[in-house]
Symmetry: C2
Subunit: 128 residues, 2 copies
Amino acid sequence: MSYEQLLPPDRLDSTFAALADPTRRAILARLIAGEVSVMELAAPFEMSQPAISKHLKVLERAGLVTRGRDAQRRPVRVEARPLVEASKWLDGYREKLEASFQRLDALLEEMKSHEKTHPRPKRSRRSR
Amino acid sequence: MSYEQLLPPDRLDSTFAALADPTRRAILARLIAGEVSVMELAAPFEMSQPAISKHLKVLERAGLVTRGRDAQRRPVRVEARPLVEASKWLDGYREKLEASFQRLDALLEEMKSHEKTHPRPKRSRRSR
DNA sequence: GCTATATATAACTATAAGGTTATTAAACCA
DNA sequence: TGGTTTAATAACCTTATAGTTATATATAGC
């Protein structure tokens, strides 16, 4: 639990945490169309403006959005980078997983044919 | 915590939430190599066994792992599906975002050349 | 300077997350 | 049967989340 966050402050933590909330995903979806003010953003939700501001702060801390200034408005825009990083992590993971599954399938296949002639002992395949 | 599995289980919520913790991502990484018992899983972490069991429960509720039975052991294995779904969401989002950015770039380009002949008024492009 | 609008902040509440230690339960083994 | 190993559960603590209402701040425009 310690080593992970000692070194490069793990962006993935805050990125995934931010993405875990449906309101925040909806906000991001809304932002695809471009910059939006907080009021416009809050309108479709049955939630107070401060609640939306809090969600925005979460998104901002995660680097998923940045804020501008337009008179009283603080337009919100989406930032792609953390999304790309999260996406990369997932894709990399999936790749390794698939590769591993191939190995596993091969192993299982090998074991299955091996078993016929060498039945294994009762006690655990993974005693260590 | 109950409604999650009653109604339309928004899988993305629990998937992203599960991925937001570095311990859990490390557990998943460890599982690429194949089934592992809880003790083996807990060993590298400076954290109690019950803490790991809790993380496993989170991963299990998110559908990211399933449990087997091997004598006293409850081997853990990774499940790819929710990962694929999360990956799809991210990729889909990125695509739309990139498409939108292209439109934005085009728009900005158009505005820039337009501006030369039609300087805009001081007050806000996004009043409404 | 006054008022309206847009947003942020404060203070509070309730619940969830993430950890601990101690205990319990289940399966094996001698 | 009784001890050992593996894992889960209980009870508890602390901090974080997600929301609320009320208030403060900043800017525009009269």
